[in-house]
């Protein structure tokens, strides 16, 4: 990693989905221009929220089910499927292109996921990148389900991908990237626990039985605190990047851009 690169750490208070996604995009856009900083951002969601990948189908059925339970819906700039964010810590890492010589999707994923994997090991969880251990090594996104609600087929944790962090064969951390001219964003969810009734409501009865995914609570037999998970991830990213993380804040132009993006039409919210 280049010597002149500063590694900034942002730890944000829980916020709504539109703001969370707008900040991720603002950091991506400004990094694309400035290209002198790697940002690690850790954040939470102030209300349960469904996020939908850039190309994911948001059906009226799913939208109705979200409205019935007061769940926000937001569209992500990144690819991938549909994620239910509730009891989790979300990470995002934004790096300028050129920081590492090979910027292929999987290489960037390995670079960023290494920090998450080390962080998980600090918590006593032995995670691996699915790319290195499974039949997903071809690079194809695999997996659909049958007989459940249509959106279950796009539920991120029902799809196994080479970019997942798995424990054994169960998916623990899903991630997605958004890439623009000069920078790359990878964000992902580290679930502390799952609200299983809500998952059934959103994605159908079969979603829990047919798919292997897990949470820190299931793996550790207790639920770690948000603070412990954040601390472990910070240790992980510091070791993976070989640099100290400097606690920082959004710049004024990042805040201005995030405010404009948060009001954009395609970042939805149900109320």
């Amino acid at each position: 990693m280049g010597e002149g690169i500063c590694v900034r750490l942002l730890i944000d208070k829980p916020a709504d989905g539109a703001w969370n996604m707008a900040v991720d995009e603002a950091v991506l856009r400004m990094t694309s221009i400035r290209r002198n900083m790697l940002t690690v951002r850790l954040y939470m969601w102030e209300r349960p929220t469904v996020s939908v990948g850039y190309f994911s189908r948001l059906t009226e059925g799913l939208l109705d089910r979200c409205k019935k339970r007061g769940i926000d819906v937001v569209r992500r700039l990144s690819g991938g499927g549909i994620v239910f964010h509730d009891d989790e810590v979300t990470y995002s890492v934004v790096l300028p292109k050129g920081l590492i010589s090979d910027c292929s999707v999987l290489t960037v994923c390995k670079f960023v996921s290494e920090g998450v994997i080390i962080g998980l090991s600090e918590l006593g969880v032995d995670g691996r990148l699915a790319h290195s251990v499974s039949a997903c090594a071809s690079g194809r996104v695999e997996g659909t389900i049958h007989g459940a609600l249509p959106n279950a087929a796009e539920f991120c944790y029902a799809i196994h991908s080479p970019t997942d962090i798995v424990v054994g064969s169960a998916k623990l951390v899903g991630s997605a990237q958004a890439r623009c001219n000069g920078a790359i964003l990878q964000h992902g969810s580290v679930p502390l626990g799952w609200d299983k009734d809500m998952l059934r409501h959103l994605f159908g009865d079969g979603v829990l039985e047919r798919h292997e995914f897990t949470s820190l609570e299931e793996l550790l037999s207790y639920k770690p605190s948000v603070g412990d998970v954040i601390e472990a991830l910070c240790v992980g990213f510091e070791r993976a990047f070989g640099r100290a993380l400097h606690v920082g804040k959004l710049s004024d132009d990042e805040v201005d851009l995030a405010l404009r993006l948060a009001g954009r039409k395609w970042i939805l919210r149900c109320s």
């Binding site: 990948g53 190309f55 990144s78 690819g79 999707v105 999987l106 690079g139 990237q177 001219n181």
Partner: protein
């Protein structure tokens, strides 16, 4: 397989290629770009009649959970869109300089193409960036 960078096309630093024929520019993404992304799963392109600006994004591609913007090397009006890609974006992976073309743009002038890179200059840029 060796990276393909055909002579006779022009290239942008953001990894798009342009084939100029009079005032028409056919635009696609390079072999380097499609390899960096991996197998494409979705593609979003502008409509015929849309105006696009040089250096600005005109489309989005997605692969293995990563979305990426595609930038226009020239300004002009979109006169043709490769609709086959909407059903099968992997055509871009298989034949980025042929059947995998994205759009055709009518340029008011070919002035902007002078700022684009030749095949040799594009290779040199990739070498400088440590990507070859």
């Amino acid at each position: 397989m060796e990276l393909r960078i055909p002579e006779g096309l022009l290239y942008s630093p953001t990894h798009e290629w342009v084939k100029v024929d009079g005032n028409l520019a056919t635009i696609g993404i390079t072999d380097f770009a499609q390899r960096e992304m991996g197998e494409l799963t979705y593609i979003e392109l502008p409509d015929v009649g849309d105006h696009i600006e040089a250096g600005q994004p005109f489309g989005v591609i997605e692969s293995v959970k990563a979305s990426e913007e595609v930038y226009s090397p020239v300004s002009g009006t979109v006169v043709k869109v490769n609709e086959r890609l909407l059903d099968d974006p992997t055509i871009v992976n298989q034949d980025p300089y042929g059947d995998g073309w994205l759009i055709v743009v009518e340029m008011p002038s070919s002035e902007e193409t002078k700022a684009l890179l030749t095949a040799q200059a594009y290779v040199e840029m990739l070498r400088r960036e440590g990507r070859l």
